[in-house]
Symmetry: D2
Subunit: 410 residues, 4 copies
């Protein structure tokens, strides 16, 4: 098991051991039957690497996690100017189903409260069927596979969704809804009933992290401008009336859904998807939030922990006979370590190496995840007869198999 | 004049030509006399380079621009846990002088509204004199020079500051103020009356961009955790009830003051300071905001335009006889171009070069500011007899003097 | 012309002369065609006397003036306990179409904002047709004649009433609506499209003033408890976010509608109906409000100007030969003067009188309307050969015809 | 014991037996020591009759009960126009210490929230000492005796009153406070610390009921216009965010204080004062509110239960030899029955009567309190040898002592 996966597995284990908190959504019977013990987390880098832990095969309905992605589709289709005539950008400071229409414009406060999400959905052009097809295909492109509607959930939501219908009529009366209230909410109910896994969500998030290009399929989904606006709104409004504290504590633009999923994005680096059905009073997955916060802390993912200006961790790289001399610098985070690992694999495949001298004198910080990744790379190299020798074993531990000595290698 | 400075000068010229809008603050006579035409912008990279344009010698009172920096000082002194018992993190969705105390905790909503700023000030320990000395020295460390109080402004603010005194008593009654209301507001009035220039503000912002180390003086001011929290709160609450749209349109954590100054931060890259006294109805510098928005758009500074994963723009660099072969990749933004320029200067000083072959095949995006910087570097090299030859002149234009021909050189 | 009618005619004249202000409602074309010059006022006492001035023959749609009366019907049908589970009693401090649902209960704040009115309408039992029939018959009983629906207005409202439909779905989702949102709003649109005249509105108001018994038809419409609750809610919530000032300045529980009508009630005394289509920004008839305020001031109708404790103005009444000696006391207001007039008519019909000595020594206040009524009574008596002689002509002027002389009497 | 007193005593007994609820105010130690069992109620008619029950000798600090009375003093001194430039009239829909300043004007929402009350206090002219003397003398005139300040409570309030000081500075900064914030709040703290009894409060309330004339001392305190405005504001804002429901359920303009007192007014009829220290979460006396509600229901005191139009209950009164024939009509409420009793006493003192024939054919409603009063009068008359004989004993029971002698009747 690779070290990232190991880290995720251990992290899930710790949180799964915590006494259960929160309550599975039960406003429709289809949600109430969710397995409260289910727990999964996936992480997908902008290189397209997928790391998974827990019940990643279990699917759940996407619900509000769909909101930023549909918003991105609308932005890509219509542009910011047109969309901003219909939906605002300000945090509402209120719960998810708040009725926050701006005085004057009548716009919903932002695209991540229900009112704004229904307006976003209504702006996707075409007949209702065409419109939903565009949404389903768009979200499928974000996820890299074809998503399917849970018809039972859709029907139940449609049956009980009077508050959302109210928001539809309200925004219609303000002149900001793009189609009839009944159509808009019906499409919205179907959109919310799409089934996803934690990995789907992580890939969707990674597509935003990768500026709109799905890092797994390599296919562009939305343009960079749409991503920028979407991430901006996720950063300030993504966690409802807790958005400010989430930014301070976790530092990842994110969006949760009552199905138990959460998507989180580290722009330029990675996407995360978690799944655990029990929700807190605000409707956020309790374990999901805790797992994301710990992941952010342990892996140094806070958006405002920039890696410093020397963005390449490799300050020098030269081959002398059968030794590679590699000098690193600055902060070693997840992406840095991943890049170093890749470089080492390539060099090992190209040159007949027996050792790598890793000069870490100029390394300032080593994130735990980077240390683990480097050790894993060390073990891989060792298996190929190449020893990875850090200049400072306090900073970067040597791969465990390497203690045996130079001579004993196979 | 270097290209960054040129860009700033041109930008100021464009905005200065716009018909004047907004109104100089006049709630105290000392502010009303400000020169409405004064206009300055400074940009400071995390390498410590200072670029200035306009009336950068003119000083003004720092006012609310002091808020995030004092908050950072308090966070550095007391830690997030203690500070979070006194001040919240959520946008208030209200004007600057709003009375947004959280039900239950009685905390001001965040540290960037007046109530929260007064509480932050009150938490700096010591006698009132010691406390103010800590604040003045702290802000001076952020600015890299000793800041002085404008006694006239201080006395006038103290005379008319009943609303702030109200906020002092209010937070005192909630048990979140750190000292008596009269002391806290008096220190706060002095803090707001510190005089700064646009360049001071830019260096202060760059210190946040550089994770708490003043990039000019190289002295640490606050720790990284304090910076992370401060930037998070600036991102969600910095522009009051316009914070969400500011994030979408400009994408730089920022803070304005009624003296006409605005600080903006691109984490990991640079700080910006602007100064223009006429304010809009919200109390933000009209020209200052417009100039920052254009700067962000033209220079590609939006926080959610990450430079992509290949963070070093140099994919290969080798010297063959008198030619340097340099391969670039990915997005070329301000910081990338600056780094490339520096590398070229070093190589030119070390090796007897006559030409640099710049392979830009793998370059995906070239920001305008990067193109300008590379051309400027080309001209510098040319003056030293070295021609800089891009592989694709559409992507990266060659320095203008270089067209004369290969033969004419040294 | 009787003195009350004269007073109303003069009052309308004064207000009609004012430069026109406000704007006729135009959200549907049927309202926009209203005659902006139309102006009418009617006053109906709890004795059933009807006084009219201006365009009382012109009808208009009742709109929100229907709200308190339908609320009274629901209270009469279901009782306060049941109704209070669906609709609250607090002023919302917000405009008429505010979405003021109480946290916790989900009840609309009160029955006079649209959300609460739609819920009230929804609680009238039966099929939609039966329910509307009950409403139409109930409001007709309040008015004392059969009211008819303006089908054009109804259809237009139904077509454009998305905000009201939103309120329907919203209250449905909170579990406080009594039937489907589409049915409830459809009945509500029909209710609002009932046509009334100023006199209809005045009789409806007088029915509330008379504790639920129509003072013209003498038929009971709703019980006293329903009236008490309805008047209480009109007093605190009747004029939306202006209810407090209205109580101070006018002191009459009231309700306006966008058709240009206003109903006002002086409990125990009289009902008022005014009609003038141009509305202010809040949706209240501009001239209607001004006319009501002046009426209240001139006639001493403020609810908190109680007539004092000696509620009968007659402290002594005795017949000595052909003279009636009548001693009055306390404040003489409209109702007092009306009662005195009635008493004098009865005495004149019973005894062979030639004079009435009116001892006003103990009278403390004489409202203008009371002075006019007494003069009118004096003229009536004079025509029958009976002179009415006030003890103090400064307090109560003698009827004008009476100056002709003592000698002319029989 | 007269029947009103008996009724009050029984009512207190019932409520005192209820399990204790609420909590004595303890924000200052002086209030926390209040006797939680103390319970008193007084009722004072506009005739000046005082009825008392319970611990009426126990005094307590007036606290917020002072607000409407000081507001009335300011209105009397300065007039509505001037006062309305400083304080609004709208319910704030918020708790007592809310910071409800109107956008635009900066006025506190109304005079019964703390902010408005402090402004009202600040508008009483003179030096601080003169101003407080005017307030103390004014409230003493309302109460009919000289009120004294509880110095301990005053000092404690002054020490801990930072929130009120905040409101002082806030209103000062808005330009609506009449003097310095420190002076205004100091006078306010003294005003709140005046000691009163339940009877004092009832007489104060009765002075409002009697249009500004103290019904016990017969001295005018404030003019009628001041009373009208004060009662209007009490009606819409007196019970904070519960004002609307209070109007529906109790129907008496009222004001409570954290000392445990409540004043309630039935305009034109009577004033009520209750005292019981344990408070609910809103700061209202729990038993006080329950006792007032029951009193209103049992005695028919709801403001919108007007006594009907025939305001004198006596339709005919004649003496035939030794019999008085008295015909009554309409609703017999407290005031009516009191007036009838008085009339009977006068007649009994003037004529040599042996019986009173009470014709109640035209009586529509008999409030319980009226029945009790009439029975009491019957017993009094019986003691003087005069039998009171109702025409309908179902409607009005005969005095109990009268059963002794069927035979003695004519």
């Amino acid at each position: 098991m690779d070290p990232v996966t190991s880290a995720l597995v251990r992290l899930l284990g710790r949180h799964a051991a915590d006494p259960p908190q929160g309550r599975v959504a039960d406003y429709i019977p289809e949600l109430a039957v969710a397995n409260a013990e289910a727990f999964a987390m996936s992480m997908v880098s902008v290189h397209g690497h997928v790391y998974e832990a827990g019940d990643v095969e279990q699917s759940f309905t996407i619900q509000s996690v769909s909101k930023p992605f549909v918003y991105a589709l609308v932005l890509a289709d219509l542009g910011l100017d047109e969309v901003s005539r219909h939906i605002g950008f300000e945090p509402s400071g209120e719960p998810f189903n708040a009725i926050s229409l701006e005085p004057g414009t009548g716009r919903p406060a932002n695209a991540l409260i229900n009112a704004g999400a229904i307006v976003a959905t209504s702006l996707i052009a075409g007949t209702p069927e065409e419109s939903f097809t565009r949404i389903r295909e768009g979200l499928s492109a974000f996820a890299g596979r074809t998503l399917e509607v849970d018809e039972q959930v859709y029907l139940s939501e449609a049956e009980t969704g009077d508050r959302n219908r109210a928001l539809g009529y309200l925004t219609l009366s303000q002149g900001v809804l793009g189609r009839s209230a009944q159509e808009a909410t019906d499409i919205y109910f179907r959109q919310c009933a799409l089934r996803v896994t934690a990995t789907d969500v992580a890939i969707m998030a990674a597509t935003l992290a990768n500026m709109g290009v799905n890092p797994v399929t390599r296919k562009p989904v939305v343009d960079e401008a749409a991503v920028r606006t979407t991430l901006s709104v996720m950063a300030t409004c993504g966690m409802y009336d807790n958005s400010g504290e989430w930014m301070v504590r976790v530092g990842l633009p994110a969006k949760s859904g009552v199905g138990g999923g959460i998507a989180a994005v580290l722009p330029g680096e990675l996407g995360l998807g978690v799944f655990s059905p029990p929700l807190d009073a605000r409707g956020n997955s309790v374990r999901g939030m805790a797992a994301l916060q710990e992941t952010s802390e342990r892996l140094g993912l806070h958006m405002f922990t920039p890696p410093g200006v020397h963005r390449s961790p490799v300050s020098a790289s030269s081959v002398e006979e059968d030794r590679l001399i590699l000098a690193l610098r600055g902060e070693l985070d997840f992406v840095a370590a991943e890049g170093i690992g890749r470089h080492l694999q390539e060099m090992a495949a190209t040159f007949p190496l027996t050792a790598v001298d890793l000069d870490v004198t100029d390394v300032t910080v080593v994130r735990p995840i980077a240390a683990e990744l480097l050790q894993a790379t060390g073990r891989d190299l060792l298996a190929r007869g190449i020893r990875l020798i850090p200049s400072d074993r306090e900073k970067v531990p040597e791969a465990e198999g390497s203690r045996d000595g130079d001579s004993s290698k196979d």
